[in-house]
């Protein structure tokens, strides 16, 4: 058996600094050039500048919707994921039912259903006036409820990726099931699912464009409004595309850097 391996090494890239045209990220250069070209047009062409400034007014909303939705979906997703692997039959079935329900319906449809049917019904049930709940709040609620189901599956996979022996070792020391989860299983699971969670952050950023259908003034909606009066389709949608591309690229590079840092630091 190859069980007694030397201490495992961290996944650091080889320290070979020499330029290698085969492994060089040419795609990144290409996308960078596209973004740079758009930047150049925005600076040099007044038509582009105006549209850029118009779209910029929606950036704060896009980032806020994405950020709040992701953090809340992370918490709800963790709870659902724990329910998904729970030994309690009721909890497990509620979690699985919820996850399968959400994953079986298109996101766009769910945004309509949650914003215009679920939220009003629930708020009436709680004695609140549905018209007082802003569209942006409904958009966030919808994204949280949807993405919690996807994130729950990530957490489930993460928890199940930890070998049974870890739980047994923790339990045989006298830790309760909850303590073993909290101190032994979840910290390891969380580290394993970090890349998948990063992907979902990027996915929420992109899907936040869908809440434009509610009239929330994030960058997609602002672009649509701008086009409807200027008729500058080409300029507007190229710039909007460059906005998303820049944000997802920056996020993805940031996440890669974070991951590399974590794997080289800890072990």
């Amino acid at each position: 058996m190859a069980a007694d391996l030397p201490p495992s090494t961290s996944l650091q890239p080889p320290t070979n600094k020499r330029f290698n045209w085969r492994t060089f990220p040419w795609w990144l250069v290409a996308i960078g050039l596209i973004i740079a070209y758009m930047g150049f047009r925005i600076i040099s062409d007044p038509a582009y500048t105006n549209i850029f400034e118009a779209i910029l007014t929606g950036l704060g909303t896009t980032l806020m919707v994405t950020g709040i939705s992701f953090i809340c979906a992370l918490i709800l997703g963790l709870l659902l994921g724990l329910g998904r692997v729970s030994r309690n039959v009721l909890l497990r079935n509620i979690s699985i039912g919820y996850i399968e329900f959400i994953r079986g319906v298109p996101i766009l449809v769910l945004i309509f259903t949650i914003s215009f049917a679920v939220v009003p019904a629930l708020s009436k049930g709680m004695g609140l006036d549905p018209s007082k709940i802003s569209l942006i709040a409904r958009a966030i609620i919808a994204l949280v409820l949807i993405y919690a189901a996807y994130i729950a599956e990530i957490f489930r996979a993460g928890i199940e990726s930890i070998s049974r022996g870890q739980m047994e070792a923790a339990r045989s020391l006298g830790l309760t099931h909850a303590q073993a989860m909290r101190y032994v299983i979840l910290p390891q699971a969380f580290r394993n699912v970090l890349p998948a969670l990063g992907n979902d952050l990027i996915a929420i950023l992109k899907d936040s464009s869908l809440v434009s259908v509610l009239g929330v003034r994030e960058i997609t909606q602002v672009s649509r409004l701008s086009v409807s009066s200027s008729f500058k389709y080409e300029e507007t949608y190229f710039i909007l595309t460059a906005f998303y591309l820049t944000m997802t690229l920056v996020l993805s590079l940031l996440l890669q850097w974070l991951q590399r840092k974590m794997s080289s630091n800890v072990h």
Partner: protein, 252 residues
Amino acid sequence: MSTKLATANQPMISISNVSKFFGDFRALDDVSLTVDRGEVLMIVGPSGSGKSTLLRCINHLEVPDAGEIIIDGKHVKPQERELNAIRAEVGMVFQRFELFPHLTVLENICLAQQKVRKSSRSESEKVARGLLEKVGIPEQANKYPPKLSGGQQQRVAIARSLAMQPKVILFDEPTSALDPEMINEVLDVMLTLAREGMTMVVVSHEMGFARKAAHQVVFMDGGTIVEQGTPEQVFGAPQHERTKLFLSRILH
């Protein structure tokens, strides 16, 4: 109550008529066994003989389908709270070490002390450093387990179970995942514990350890105890054909 007077004579572990099924497979068939205080019991047998299952039944990592297990006068039952209290007093050392890779060696040894015994951080670290000294690797305290060799990891695992001041330690093939040159450093620690009077149940084929430390050897096959006695009896003059066959295979 007379229970207090009786404890000195009462066995540390008493296993009565334990059976365990995995589906239709009968892993343990009506097994009874006692382990006295300070006794080192070795369980040997071919793979699939039920030896690991028996060990795992003692602290209910596997819940027996029939029979009862009494540890230090306490009946082991599947009820969570009592079971947690009993498990805290029964150490377990695994074949694959099962150290917590996201915690340092020191944190591995401190975790249960702090969360189960509610010891303070400084108190538990003092205990942990003392135990690392005892198993011979005090300099590894702040490393993460994957950085250690297999032998060092297993010694940390032993220190981790000792930190709970267990009444018994169960060893599930503690040296079979180790390279040959690391086996002795682990067996030496186990020998020390045996000499200090720790009650130990060891599933292993280490004959050297059995001869030096075991008081009783049990040979299992097909989910039953085929033969038991002192190491001299079982290894030197086995009575049953199955025992002879098995020993001839592992002793070459």
